[in-house]
Symmetry: C2
Subunit: 107 residues, 2 copies
DNA sequence: TCCACGATTTAACAACTATTGAAATAATAG
DNA sequence: CTATTATTTCAATAGTTGTTAAATCGTGGA
């Protein structure tokens, strides 16, 4: 189970329109990821601002990066988001499956 | 599907240690919820601070409240969190189920 | 009605966050 | 090596957030 501080960091990282858009774009893109410049162009964000947000997302563990030539590819790390969701729904409804309203959760 | 602004509001609301603790406590408690005073005592948070956080969580749609005598009971609203998770994983891996790493998601 | 109790509001302040442009760094191609 | 492209760092500013104490609101009982 994730530590509270890490969950807060992940939530905090996603709680910003530009970063949320970056993350969603990379979730859609899958493991291949996308180059920083392409993301900047697609989302119409200045390189400096984008870099700042990459740092925040990476520090939260939500992004992986790899260099390919002059380009840096970023990709979503699904494990951290899954851990975040598990943390939020842990022991939901006190373990009463009937009362549970979280789909896919076995309480 | 939820609107981006509402998702950001929900993530933002949970991206704070005290509010995350409040929400988890209420998720565990289920639909019955818990009185404000009990939560304050359990989490050792001052009433004023707690009230401030209730407002933030309620405004994000994450909490429901009902008055019972002098007490106000708060309960988690699961629908909004589910919507938040759906928004985050929407169209994940571009619809390629094999590449998808999000358990319970059919891509 | 008056009082006690639970909960919220307000105002103030310190701490943190996002954004920008300009400068600096890293990597490749010629 | 130099020019070029991609990305990051820096510094400054404006805006946002969390906490506290004191004041206020609303409910139920004497």
């Amino acid at each position: 189970m994730m530590k509270p501080a890490q969950v807060v960091r992940a939530l905090s990282a996603l709680a910003q329109p530009t970063r949320l858009a970056i993350y969603r774009l990379l979730v859609e893109r899958g493991p291949e990821g996308m180059a920083a410049g392409q993301i900047a162009e697609k989302l119409k964000v200045s390189p400096a601002t984008l870099s700042f947000h990459f740092k925040t997302l990476s520090h939260a563990g939500l992004l992986e990066s790899r260099q390919d030539g002059r380009f840096i590819y970023y990709a979503a790390n699904f494990a951290v988001m899954n851990g975040m969701v598990d943390y939020l729904t842990e022991n939901c409804c006190g373990g009463n499956a009937d009362a549970c309203k979280v789909p896919g959760k076995k309480c």
